[in-house]
């Protein structure tokens, strides 16, 4: 199967089955995680600090393989997938990191353009989308500024723009609105929602309970002490009207 393959018709975009994760010889930070994420759905991942949200997201954006269990992404088993096939899958995933992870010696514009350049998009073809994205996040006058000269909120916006510019099929965001004012938070959430309407599956880890109530049809996953609380089974067997 090629990297462009998608989930089976009617199948889940992401499937976790009894997944466990441990770092080294320590106890598992995640245990028996099972859920399905449906294409085009919007999920919030919540839970107290240290519950394992970031570890779960790492497995979602392919920075970490599970210690046990099965993970399928876009219909393919990721646990046994050879690493040389991972880049093709990663290009279909947008990630907003909690600590932004902007490349410090690149300008805001170059940071945003990075996924397109890595994917081989020509300079001619990427200048339009990058310009639009800069304009949308309100940083067209700071296009050539380096991250160190941007405020935390501005860096956050650049990080989000970088995550969404390649129109990923799966968007994973770790506390994406933690450093922006409420107005910008709503604008960013609006962008996620717009992408979701276009078919992107969105997973947002957040502590902000007010954010969750802003998105219709969003589903919530709650992690506590490394285990996924899903008492209704909605994540594993989502009702059709939620998909």
């Amino acid at each position: 199967m090629t990297d462009s393959a998608g989930p089976r018709p009617g199948g889940a975009m992401v499937e976790f089955d009894r997944v466990g994760l441990r770092y080294g010889p320590d106890a598992e930070v995640l245990a028996d995680i099972s859920f399905n994420l449906q294409p085009g759905s919007f999920y919030f991942l919540t839970g107290p600090s240290g519950a394992g949200k970031t570890s779960l997201l790492k497995m979602l954006y392919l920075a970490q393989r599970p210690s046990r269990g099965l993970v399928r992404l876009f219909g393919e088993d990721l646990v046994s997938m050879p690493r040389q096939r991972l880049p093709g899958f990663r290009r279909r995933i947008g990630v907003v990191f909690q600590d932004f992870r902007l490349i410090p010696h690149l300008s805001a514009r170059d940071n945003i353009a990075l996924p397109l350049r890595i994917a081989g998009v020509s300079e001619e073809d990427l200048s339009g989308p990058v310009g639009e994205m800069l304009s949308w996040i309100g940083l067209d006058d700071r296009a050539h500024a380096r991250p160190a000269t941007l405020s935390g909120g501005e860096q956050q916006r650049v990080a989000i723009a970088r995550a969404v510019i390649a129109r990923p099929q799966l968007l994973v965001a770790d506390e994406p609105t933690g450093n922006v004012d409420p107005e910008m938070a709503m604008r960013l959430l609006g962008l996620f929602e717009a992408l979701n309407r276009l078919g992107t599956t969105v997973v947002v880890a957040t502590h902000d309970i007010h954010l969750i109530s802003r998105i219709d049809n969003a589903q919530m996953m709650r992690l506590e002490k490394g285990r996924l609380a899903d008492p209704t089974g909605a994540l594993r067997y989502p009702p059709a009207n939620k998909v």
């Binding site: 920075a63 393989r65 880049p87 990663r90 290009r91 010696h105 690149l106 170059d110 350049r117 890595i118």
Partner: protein, 301 residues
Amino acid sequence: MIIPRVPVQHRRLLPDRRLSGPTPWVIAILMMLTLLAAGAGVGLARAANNIGDAIAGRVTVQIVTANPVTRAEQAAELRRQALAAPYVRTARNVGQDELLATLSQWLGSAGGDDPVLRSLPLPALVDIDFVGGERAGQLAQLRALVARAAPGARIIPHAEWLGPVARLIRSLAWIAAGMVLLMTLASGAVVIMTARAALGTHYATIEMLHLIGATDRQITRLFQRRIAIDTAYGIALGTVVAAAIMLLIGWQWSGVTSGLAATASLGPMGWALLLALPLLAIALAALTARLTLLSALKKIL
């Protein structure tokens, strides 16, 4: 390709710091020493070969008959018979004046027609060069000829007294080759350390590139290009300095026109080897960097 092509925009993924680290300078020093060792090795190897060729087929027959007239006649007869022999290429009587000139360098001379030197009982010498072939057989035939033409004369193969010198020079050439090999290995080690250090320094960038879908080859090309260029700067600098030193030595060497020293030269093949070494070094550095980077990246998911 020695220095991989990377789009300009991709090159900016690494900070533009040229010649900022120690690598180019260490490589420059190693390259300079490598070229000097290689130059010395080639020159010495050629000298050893030249000496070997010269001495392998040459003997001097020393005629010590007491009567000077008989001695001169025996020398002339020996030369005549030797020239007629099929295994002899040339045969030459060493003139009395030539012998006196050589002796005067050791014993001193009053200049001109020195009566003391003239009074010395000097042997008659005949230099004989063999044609190419089986030396032991040729020597046996010459012994028989000398026994007939000049009984009591001594045959002195030049290999007996110049052979150890040729072997010493050949040993020095091998030592120089060994030094070239060791410095090549040291240069490779420097490149490996540079590649690993670069990966450590830019780990966050590499991790980010991986996570947005960059392949190992894309990342490797970036670093390989940077390391190859930095190394090329060092190699160019080392080559220029080594060339200057070799030209200086060559200029001084040109004044040495006698004896064994005159046999030392690089020759066209030697110069070609020295010119190829820097290019080979750049290629080796790029290949080493590539393999090191690919191996290190495989350890990252």
